[in-house]
């Protein structure tokens, strides 16, 4: 047998071993799965053959800047790619961009797109979420926009001019970040929030009040407890009408009213779906050959003993690592602590953990403009989460405490003479006692 045929045979054998992995979606979790799968092949053979199918025309890019630094029309920022083009090429990752998967045929183990089928051994759903448009008459007007993709951000950036007037519906993170970006550019902006306070789903009253004061200080016209009832076009501009009778005129409107998981493909394929694709601790769906990760999936979280669907970069990355481990035959359970950030004006909010269901919130420091402070969320004495406002130390310490279930003595948390590092020490002593 010649050396050549031996190598050919070896290659054939390797190829036969190589699982074919198809990833649907080309965002944060898709990119991380590519990174984690190919990392395993650093020392030679790449264990999986990867195809990524994404309906956006771009290779995976960082989404968070879209509502923050990306929007300045005077100094347009390029998209920031998660990995350079070379990375996909060098690892023989087939990028099918600008293509939408229409269905999954689980029997035949293939996905279908525009009359074409692509077979898989393992399938990873990384389809993300879609911003909701609340059911309001006029909400589908072409000047009512959402801010989720580069294409949408480009449309918005093109429309930003300092003489413009913008209305934002919804005071969640994206709505508030967008408002901050507009104010930095000198654009007039009104934010209309249905709930009594901003960020009401994710923060405590004190933190909400801090963000409200900050936005008003920067000139945002912020209204809470307002119900938008209609968006009408009047003489070429939009008029946003509210239940209490006040109208807001705008050149365009951006809706930031939360997102729904892109779980339709999974639903049609008969997978378990309930507010996202249901996955086990290995991010496996009810079909063991199909995984789901990122915004589109819903998982039981061991730290919180609750089903969670988390929209964050951290969650997308950590779940993708879990999927990679399973595909590579070295399964590990997903058990990482959620973390998140939001940048608005000169304020950096960093969140460790998830505060949902807290029964006590302690404020460390002074929740005043220009100050740094943190909000510590507890439930029955157990630390759930910390919101750190310009306080990376509190955030870093929380990141050590929450996964281990440790908590410092409560009276120390609010004592700013005690450093965050000392808090960690105190918590360790508590847990040893």
């Amino acid at each position: 047998m010649s050396a050549e045929t031996t190598i050919a045979e070896q290659n054939a054998e390797q190829n036969a071993e190589q699982k074919k992995c198809v990833i649907v979606g080309s965002g944060h979790s898709a990119a991380q799965l590519c990174v984690s799968l190919t990392h395993a092949g650093r020392s030679g053979k790449i264990p999986v053959e990867i195809t990524v199918i994404g309906d956006e025309p771009h290779a995976p890019y960082h989404r968070p800047p879209l509502s923050k630094t990306y929007l300045n029309p005077a100094a347009p920022e390029p998209l920031q790619f998660i990995r350079p083009e070379n990375f996909y090429r060098e690892n023989s990752i087939e990028m099918r961009l600008g293509k939408r998967v229409e269905s999954i045929d689980r029997q035949a183990k293939q996905v279908c797109l525009g009359g074409e089928t692509i077979p898989y051994d393992v399938l990873a759903l990384a389809t993300g979420s879609t911003h909701r448009r609340p059911p309001i008459p006029g909400i589908d007007h072409p000047d009512v926009l959402t801010l989720q993709t580069a294409a949408q951000a480009d449309v918005i950036r093109d429309r930003i001019r300092s003489d413009r007037c913008v209305v934002v519906i919804g005071a969640g993170f994206i709505g508030l970040e967008f408002a901050a970006s507009l104010r930095k550019l000198g654009v007039r902006v009104a934010v209309l929030e249905r709930m009594e306070r901003v960020l009401s789903r994710v923060t405590s009253l004190d933190v909400s009040r801090f963000f409200e004061a900050m936005h008003r200080h920067h000139g945002v016209e912020l209204h809470t407890s307002v119900n938008v009832t209609a968006v009408d076009e009047v003489e070429g501009r939009l008029v946003v009408r509210t239940e209490n009778g006040s109208d807001f005129t705008a050149d365009f409107v951006v809706v930031g009213a939360g997102a729904a998981p892109n779980d339709q493909l999974a639903r049609q394929a008969g997978l378990d779906v309930d507010n996202g694709v249901r996955v086990n601790e290995y991010n496996q769906t009810s079909d063991p050959d199909i995984y789901a990760m990122g915004d589109c999936c819903n998982q039981f979280h061991p730290i919180y003993s609750a089903q969670l669907r988390i929209e964050s970069v951290q969650n997308a990355l950590d779940q993708a690592k879990t999927v990679a481990a399973s595909i590579l035959g070295k399964p590990v359970k997903q058990n990482t602590m959620p973390w998140f950030w939001s940048d608005q004006y000169d304020v950096k909010l960093q969140i460790a953990g998830v505060s949902t269901g807290f029964d006590q919130c302690l404020i460390r420091g002074s929740a005043k403009l220009g100050e740094s402070f943190s909000a510590w969320y507890l439930k029955q004495g157990r630390l759930l989460a910390v919101d750190a406002i310009n306080d990376a130390r509190a955030y870093a310490v929380a990141g050590k405490l929450i996964p281990t279930g440790m908590c410092p003595r409560l009276e120390l948390i609010t004592d700013t003479n005690i450093t965050p590092k000392e808090l960690l020490q105190s918590a360790k002593e508590e847990s040893n006692a």
Partner: protein, 103 residues
């Protein structure tokens, strides 16, 4: 385009000429091992931790308060630690040498 040498965790020297805005992005674009840039460069993930070569630390400058906070509990943090995403690449930094800390 400033030239930067990254010494990776496995000891390789990777020389990069880059017009990227900061040390993290220059590393990611050139696939430098050990720099991930998970948060995209906003000092929130610490996956871009580098040690600046002592000869360069004066030119690069010390870590800002937020970087120090992010790195305070890192065992590998030193006085020369910086988050790569917070180090702007300017022409003055041509020739810079940094050691990648890695995970």
């Amino acid at each position: 385009m400033p030239k930067v040498t990254y010494v990776t965790p496995s000891g390789d020297e990777v020389v990069v000429n880059s017009d990227e805005p900061n040390l993290m992005q220059a590393a990611v674009t050139n696939q430098v091992e050990g720099i991930l840039g998970d948060c995209g460069g906003v000092a929130s993930c610490a996956t871009c931790h580098v040690h600046i070569d002592p000869q360069w630390i004066d030119k690069v400058g010390p870590a800002t308060d937020i970087e120090q906070g992010m790195l305070e509990l890192e065992d590998n943090a030193t006085d020369n630690s910086r988050l790569g995403c917070q180090v702007k690449l300017t022409p003055e930094l041509d020739g810079l040498v940094v050691r990648v800390v890695g995970q």
